[in-house]
C-alpha cells in the first residue's frame, strides 16, 4: 500500500508553526519510546499543512531524532497521509461490497457529475478532492457512505449528498471543521488554531457522524440514539 498521491501536484512551501512543534514534542512524551510518536506527529503536520510537505517531515525527524528517510518510509505506507496538496476538503466514497450492495457505484457516478471531475481529481475551484476507495471504512451497516475530511456521512441519497457538499463548501475557512488538508485554498489565517484535540472536533451541533443536522436515519434500530450532552470534545 502506498501513500495516496493526489492528482493535483501543486506544491506549496511551508514551515511548521511553533504550535505544531510543541504538539509533536508533547506526543513524544506520551510513549515509552519516542519513535512511537511518528504517526501522531505526522497527523499534526498534515492537520496544519494539509499534506506531508517535505519540510514538515524533516521537522518530525528532527524532533523525534530520526533520519528523514525513516520518517518518509513510514509516511508513505499509510493511505491517509497525503504526499501532495489537494483540495480544501477531501471526499472518500467507500466502494467495498457492503456499500456496493446498497448503491455505492451510484454515489460515485453522482459525485462525478456533481463535482465535475473524475475520481482522484480536484474540483476546478479547489474546494474538493474526491475519490472512491475500496477500503471498507467501517460504516457498512449505514451504507452507502462517504467520508468528508474526518467525518462520516451515511445512508446517502442524492439530496443528502447535495446538502452535505453545500454545507461543507460553506464551511471553508471555518477551522471548526475537521479538514485533513487546508493549504491549497486561501483560508482564514491559521494563526490561532486551537490545540488539535479541539481543533479537530467538529462543531457540537453536528456531533453525529452520518446524519445531516435535523435529518433522521431511517430504519436504524438501536443506533446512535440520543448522544447525550457533555459529549462535546
Amino acid at each position: 500500500m502506498t501513500g495516496r498521491v493526489l492528482a493535483d501536484d501543486r506544491r506549496v512551501d511551508v514551515a511548521l508553526s511553533e504550535q505544531t512543534r510543541v504538539e509533536i514534542s508533547r506526543q513524544k512524551e506520551r510513549y515509552p519510546s519516542a519513535r512511537s510518536a511518528i504517526l501522531p506527529a505526522l497527523w499534526a503536520v498534515q492537520h496544519e499543512l494539509g499534506y506531508l510537505a517535505p519540510a514538515g517531515m524533516e521537522e518530525v525527524a528532527r524532533i523525534l531524532d530520526l533520519a528523514p528517510s525513516e520518517v518518509q518510509a513510514v509516511a508513505t505506507f499509510y493511505s491517509m497521509y497525503f504526499q501532495k496538496p489537494g483540495g480544501r476538503h477531501t471526499v472518500m466514497v467507500c466502494v467495498n461490497v457492503a456499500c456496493a450492495l446498497r448503491g455505492a457505484d451510484d454515489v460515485v457516478a453522482y459525485l462525478e457529475r456533481a463535482l465535475g471531475c473524475p475520481s482522484g481529481r480536484t474540483t476546478a475551484d479547489g474546494m474538493f478532492t474526491w475519490q472512491s476507495t475500496i477500503e471498507c471504512l467501517g460504516a457498512c451497516g449505514y451504507a452507502p457512505m462517504m467520508q468528508v475530511d474526518h467525518r462520516f456521512y451515511e445512508n446517502l441519497t442524492p439530496a443528502k449528498i447535495d446538502a452535505i457538499l453545500d454545507r461543507v463548501a460553506g464551511e471553508a475557512g471555518d477551522d471548526g471543521h475537521a479538514t485533513m488538508q487546508a493549504v491549497a485554498m486561501p483560508k482564514a489565517p491559521p494563526s490561532v488554531a486551537p490545540p488539535p484535540a479541539e481543533a479537530e472536533g467538529p462543531p457540537s451541533d453536528a456531533r453525529m457522524p452520518g446524519t445531516v443536522k435535523g435529518e433522521s436515519v431511517p430504519g436504524q434500530k438501536r443506533r446512535r440514539r440520543g448522544r447525550p450532552e457533555g459529549n462535546d470534545l
Binding site: Y78, G141, Q220
Partner: protein, 433 residues
C-alpha cells in the same frame, strides 16, 4: 434460551458516553471488584473458566492467551485492537461510539490481570471521532482515579494511551499492529516468537479486540461460571453482529451465541429487502467463505460454521439478494486485498495483483474460459503460502464463490459484459433517477 444483552444492554441510556452516566448504570464496579475479589492469577482463571474467545477474528481463548505471558518478565504491554478494517465489520466502532467507558474499564481489568502498566488502544485513523471520544473518556476516567497511579487505592498503576492509525488494514494483524505502534511501516512479523513472548518493544504483549475486552467487566461481576452458561459450550457469551447488505434493517445486533443465523436475518435485521430472495451470505467479514440459504439454520457457533466451510470471524453477516453478481462481489473483495497487501511477501503481493487483474477482466466479460483454471492456480499458490493470513484470506471468498456459483463464473467468460441482472450496479442508489 434466555435472551442476553450484555455489551449493548445500556446503549441509548442518557449520558452513557460520560463517566457519570456510565457509573450510574453500574459502570466501573467491575474494576473496583476485580481488585477486591481476585488476584491477577485468580482473574485469569475466571476468564479461562468463562470460555471467552477472542472477538477479533481468530477466536482464540482469551484466558489461555493471557497465560502464555512468561512469569517475571516486565514490563509487559496490552494493546487493544481497535483497528477494525475487515470489510463488513463495524461493531467495534459501535461499541466505542455507544459505550466507550465499558471498553476502558475492560482494558484496565485486563491490564490488572496481566500486570501491565502501559495499555494502548490502537484505533484506525478513519475512526477520528471515536479516537477523540476515547481520549476524552480516558481523561475523565483518569480524573476519577480509574487510571494512573494507585488506582482506587489498590496499589496498581496503569496508563492508557489512545493511538490513532493512518489507514492500513494490515495493522489489524497483531504483529503489524505492534510494528505500527513502534513507529514503523505496519508489516507483520514472523511468528514465533509470538507477541506473548516478544511483542511491543520486545516485551511480552497481549493484543485483544475491543469486543473481547468489553466483556471483562461483566465477567468480573458475575463470574466465569455464569458467563459460560450463556451461548454454546465452545462459543460462550454473546456477540455483537454487524449485519449489512440487502436487508431491511442493517446495523449492529447483539445476540447470544447458538441462536440460528436465520433469527439474526429475519427477526433482527427484518429479512431480505424488497421482498427478494436470499442468494448468498458472507459470515465473519470480507475474508470468509460464502454460505448459501441452506446454511441459514446453522447456529451462531464458531465450530458449527467452521464445519460448514466458513467462519464467524469478526462477527459480520453480509447478506446478498438474488440480483447480486457473485463475480462482482468477488472482484471487489480481491481488489480490497490487492490494495491492502503490505508488500512484504511475494505470494500475496504478486498473487493479489494477478487475481485482481483476472477478476476485472472476468467481470468485464473478456476472460477466456480456460482462464478460470488460472484463477484457481493463482489462489492455490497463495493460500497457505503467504507470510500472514492476509494473503491466504484474499483467496477464500473468491474460491468458495467459484465453487458454489461455477456456472455464473463460466457465464462471464467471453460474455462481453456482466451477464447477471444488476451487473456491476448491484443496487440502485435509493432515490437516484
Amino acid at each position: 434460551m434466555a435472551e442476553y444483552k450484555l455489551l449493548t444492554q445500556h446503549i441509548g441510556a442518557d449520558g452513557l458516553q460520560t463517566r457519570a452516566g456510565y457509573e450510574r448504570l453500574g459502570g466501573y464496579q467491575g474494576l473496583r471488584e476485580v481488585f477486591r475479589r481476585f488476584t491477577p492469577e485468580q482473574f485469569i482463571e475466571q476468564v479461562k473458566l468463562s470460555g471467552l474467545r477472542g472477538r477479533g477474528g481468530a477466536g482464540f481463548p482469551t484466558g489461555t492467551k493471557w497465560s502464555f505471558l512468561p512469569k517475571d518478565v516486565f514490563p509487559r504491554y496490552l494493546c487493544c485492537n481497535a483497528d477494525e478494517s475487515e470489510p463488513a465489520c463495524f461493531k467495534d466502532r459501535y461499541l466505542i461510539d455507544e459505550n466507550p467507558h465499558q471498553l476502558i474499564e475492560g482494558v484496565l481489568i485486563a491490564a490488572y490481570a496481566l500486570q501491565v502498566h502501559h495499555a494502548f488502544i490502537y484505533i484506525r485513523g478513519e475512526y477520528h471521532d471515536q479516537r477523540l471520544l476515547l481520549e476524552r473518556c480516558v481523561e475523565e476516567a483518569g480524573g476519577a482515579g480509574y487510571i494512573g497511579r494507585n488506582i482506587l487505592g489498590s496499589g496498581f498503576d496503569c496508563e492508557v494511551i489512545v493511538h490513532g492509525g493512518a489507514g492500513a488494514y494490515i495493522c489489524g494483524e497483531e504483529t503489524a499492529l505492534i510494528d505500527s505502534l513502534e513507529g514503523y511501516r505496519g508489516q507483520p512479523r514472523l511468528k514465533p516468537p509470538f507477541p506473548a513472548l516478544k511483542g511491543l518493544y520486545g516485551k511480552p504483549t497481549v493484543v485483544n479486540n475491543v469486543e473481547t475486552l468489553s466483556n471483562l467487566p461483566h465477567i468480573v461481576l458475575r463470574g466465569g461460571d455464569w458467563f459460560k452458561g450463556i451461548g454454546t459450550e465452545r462459543s460462550t457469551g454473546t456477540r455483537v453482529w454487524c449485519v449489512s447488505g440487502h436487508i431491511e434493517r442493517p446495523g449492529c445486533y447483539e445476540m447470544e451465541n447458538g441462536r440460528p443465523i436465520r433469527e439474526l436475518l429475519e427477526e433482527e435485521a427484518g429479512g431480505v429487502w424488497q421482498g427478494r430472495r436470499l442468494k448468498a451470505f458472507q459470515p465473519g467479514g470480507g475474508s470468509m467463505q460464502v454460505l448459501l440459504p441452506e446454511h441459514l439454520d446453522l447456529p451462531l457457533d464458531m465450530d458449527a460454521v467452521m464445519k460448514a466451510g466458513s467462519s464467524l470471524g469478526a462477527g459480520a453477516m453480509m447478506f446478498m439478494d438474488e440480483t447480486t453478481c457473485m463475480v462482482n462481489v468477488s472482484m471487489r473483495l480481491v481488489d480490497f486485498y490487492h490494495h491492502e497487501s503490505c508488500g512484504k511477501c511475494v505470494p500475496c503481493r504478486e498473487g493479489t495483483y494477478f487475481e485482481s487483474d483476472l477478476m476485472h477482466r472476468l467481470e468485464a466479460g473478456t476472460c477466456k474460459p480456460e482462464e478460470l483454471a488460472t484463477l484457481s492456480d493463482i489462489c492455490d499458490n497463495m493460500n497457505g503460502k503467504c507470510f500472514c493470513p492476509l494473503g491466504d484470506t484474499a483467496t477464500w471468498f473468491v474460491m468458495s464463490a467459484y465453487q458454489a456459483f461455477r456456472e455464473e463464473f463460466e457465464a462471464h467468460c467471453g460474455a462481453g459484459g456482466c451477464p447477471v441482472r444488476g451487473g456491476a450496479r448491484t443496487a440502485a442508489l435509493v432515490g437516484a433517477s
